[in-house]
């Protein structure tokens, strides 16, 4: 079946009333659960795996696809409104999104996130429909040195979230890196910085740090400085819709975010974080309104959110075409396939065409449904901010506890929540940027693994890092991004110095 016929056939399945309803149920549940801190799509689908016994495969996968996209989108809501991202892919959205919400433009931020998710999800699904086989090949092309170079590039995002002081920015980054070192060293099986605590052997749980730094730190900080007067700002001051200017400033970031998210999502060691970091960095470098970044620039919401959702579509590429799960969520979807006795891979399209094309078509439907569901809700979500502060923050703490305690049942994670939460408080008081901690924690271990892999394969030859065209290109880009602004700055200051000499 060629893609067009297949897709038409798929739509005839996906548009059946009961399948539409499963798609609705999935997107709704996904959004609702994705809103909660610490509970992501992987866990949600895992929890719902038992229903595969009761419903037929097509319906189940249509629902799972809805959950998948819904949860990716849902994460942005609390990031924007409450500065409490619940999963790593939503962190970059929080940076500008929450500033926008504080300026009364929360609804516009939610809209650009919703439409960006729709655009990215739809383009990603188009890519899945027509370009899946070549995109899947990327997985074979990427070697450890290419991954390492890509991660170096993503590390540059630290430079734009540094805040006012370089020293404090680097302290944040290095604290993140040091937390990332905790656990069993993957290459040798040696324990590092575990202090003999079994719960730390698999490393510091990223969601615990994320939720503690943002949600817990924010709660402590706001509580200590809460003035009890009515919120001085109407959350709806900026209207409940995007302005013409917002549209103009959003569409390019949506497309660029998609461009990062989709292919990187399709890589076995890609994920949602790297494209969001890259997208934010690029938007910040390209924007015509650099002064707004850090104070609520809409590009900084539109880009990362699109990248986040496009990576979700990317994950499905190797899963469906090669049977390779490249993320935790995909691995659980694979388990669901196996519950039905299906083996994803090249044969899936032939043996279970109905299912695959029905699933792909329902991704389009689910995406549209998310948009329809969330645009009107944007105005409603913003009203969350009308909840009396004592109850709003108490609720945030309880949901954080569901995410932290419910996932691991580990006392160590509760202790970590307290300590890291206090750290988040101190960082706010003394103006240490928070994002570099997470960037270090997420990228540090990934980059280390790929670096040591590349070196081990090359038996220690450092030239291995530029041994493929892709790695050489990416490292060259990273090099220029670092050096060119520095050189420009140096020349500019020299010129000023010279002109001052002349005039003086």
């Amino acid at each position: 079946m060629d893609p067009i016929t297949g897709l038409m056939h798929g739509f005839s399945i996906a548009l059946q009333p009961q399948n539409l309803m499963w798609a609705f149920l999935g997107t709704f549940m996904g959004t609702a659960i994705g809103v909660l801190p610490g509970i992501g799509p992987a866990l949600t689908i895992a929890l719902l795996l038992p229903v595969t016994v009761y419903i037929e495969p097509t319906a189940a996968f249509i629902m799972f696809a809805g959950i998948f996209y819904g949860a990716m989108y849902g994460g942005s809501t609390t990031s924007i409104l409450l500065n409490t991202p619940g999963e790593s892919g939503a962190m970059m959205t929080a940076l500008e999104g929450n500033r926008m919400a504080r300026n009364g433009r929360g609804a516009a931020a939610l809209c650009t996130a919703a439409i960006g998710s729709f655009v990215a999800g739809t383009i990603g699904t188009l890519g899945l429909t027509f370009l899946a086989p070549p995109i899947a090949e990327l997985a074979f092309i990427f070697k450890p040195q290419d991954y390492f170079a890509l991660m170096l590039l993503a590390f540059l995002s630290v430079s734009v979230v540094m805040g006012t002081s370089k020293v404090r920015g680097f302290v944040s980054l290095f604290i993140g890196l040091s937390l990332g070192l905790v656990g069993i060293d993957k290459a040798t099986g040696q324990q590092r910085l575990t202090f003999g605590v079994p719960d730390l052997m698999d490393g510091v749980e990223m969601t615990v740090v994320l939720v503690s730094l943002f949600a817990i730190g924010e709660t402590l900080y706001v509580a200590s400085r809460y003035g009890m007067q009515k919120p001085n700002l109407n959350p709806l001051a900026g209207g409940i819709w995007m302005t013409k200017e917002d549209w103009k400033r959003s569409w390019k970031p949506w497309l660029r975010g998609t461009f990062f998210g989709f292919p990187i999502g399709a890589l076995p060691a890609g994920g949602a974080e790297i494209p969001t970091f890259l997208s934010y960095t690029v938007e910040r470098k390209l924007t015509k309104h650099p002064e707004e970044f850090g104070h609520g620039a809409i590009e900084g919401v539109a880009g990362p959110e699109a990248a986040n959702n496009a990576s979700a579509a990317g994950v499905l590429v190797p899963l469906l075409t090669l049977g390779l799960p490249t993320s935790a969520t995909a691995a659980i979807m694979l388990a669901a396939f196996q519950n039905y006795g299906l083996q994803p891979g090249p044969l899936l399209f032939i043996n279970s065409g109905d299912l695959v094309w029905g699933l792909i078509a329902s991704l389009y439907v689910g995406n549209l449904m998310l948009l329809i569901l969330n645009l009107p809700l944007a105005g409603l979500w913003v009203r969350l901010l009308f909840i009396p502060r004592p109850y709003l923050y108490a609720g945030i703490l309880i949901f954080s506890l569901v995410g932290i305690w419910g996932v691991s049942n580990s006392w160590v994670d509760l202790a970590m929540m307290f300590v890291v939460g206090l750290m988040g408080y101190a960082m706010r008081v003394y103006d240490f940027p928070i994002a570099p901690v997470l960037i270090g924690l997420i990228l540090g271990p990934m980059a280390e693994v790929q670096m040591r892999r590349a070196l081990a394969i090359g038996q220690g030859d450092p030239m291995v890092f530029v041994s493929t065209p892709l790695s050489a290109l990416l490292i060259a880009i990273a090099f220029f991004v670092i050096t060119v602004p520095a050189v420009l700055h140096w020349r500019r200051t020299r010129k000023i110095a010279q002109s001052e000499d002349i005039s003086g």
């Binding site: 009961q18 074979f140 038996q459």
Partner: protein, 316 residues
Amino acid sequence: MIRKILAAGVAVAFTGFAAFAEPAVVMAPGGAGGGYDATARMPFDAMSADGIFTDGATFTNKGGAGGTIGLAEFVGANKGNDNAVMSMGVIMVGGILLNASPVTLSDVTPLVRLTNDTGVIAVATDSPIQTVDDLVKMMKENIGGVSIGGGSAGGVDHIVMALLAKESGLDPKALNYIPYDSGAEVVTALGGGAITVAVSGVSEFKPMADAGRIRIIAVTSEAKVDGIEAPSLKESGINVVVGNWRGIMGAPEMSAEGKAMWLDRFTKMHEGPAWKDILAKQGWEDAFLAGDDFAAFLETEKTRIGEILKEAGLVQ
């Protein structure tokens, strides 16, 4: 239609709540959707479908450190509880040694071995390596030049290669073994030519081999397996047989009656149609071994794995 949804809703509602007669307490020492999770849940699905044990079960997932964290919690909470069982496997045998776990498998009661995933050794399709002999020859020339991909350091894939090296007169410590997080990563690295050779389970590699992405040169079972042309290591003259087996353990200090009750249930389950259906769907190899036979097998595995991990320099 509506009834279906209700059924699904009720199913969801009851997964955490199956508080009827006397539900079994089941520990899966790995995350939801993983191997230990399926090994814990599937037998109860089968027992319930065939009417062998219908009181339901409450499952706890507790992953981490090769399953040893779940093991420690299971042992701490269920001393003498005839109703408590947990899933485990060969990876836990190694994990206990690698992590120097204070709680070991001697603290629990061996019940049954259920499944096995045979290991396979594969190369890229265009690799000059055709047989295991070629591989060994290449390793003898320059052992560091042969990069080997597989699962975690000291895991069952690493053990396969360490035993292979030892049998061929090479130093297991000198292997250039590169651990990967997932089968997807290993298979793409191998297919794309980033690594020379890779080890994983049949279930991970066979689809990619069938698709012509990689070529299997040996399997780690006693003899050839169905659907794969490559010979076993033993048939290639290397006396190494390793399987990624999984099974069920009973609570610490389980009574003789409790043990007999569970052995009876699992034996009946193994003979019933529901379990056969599950084996086929999951693509699992039947490796049923019950009671004392399993306990004896476990002892030999412990000794063998302990020795090879020491020789590979992974355990002091």
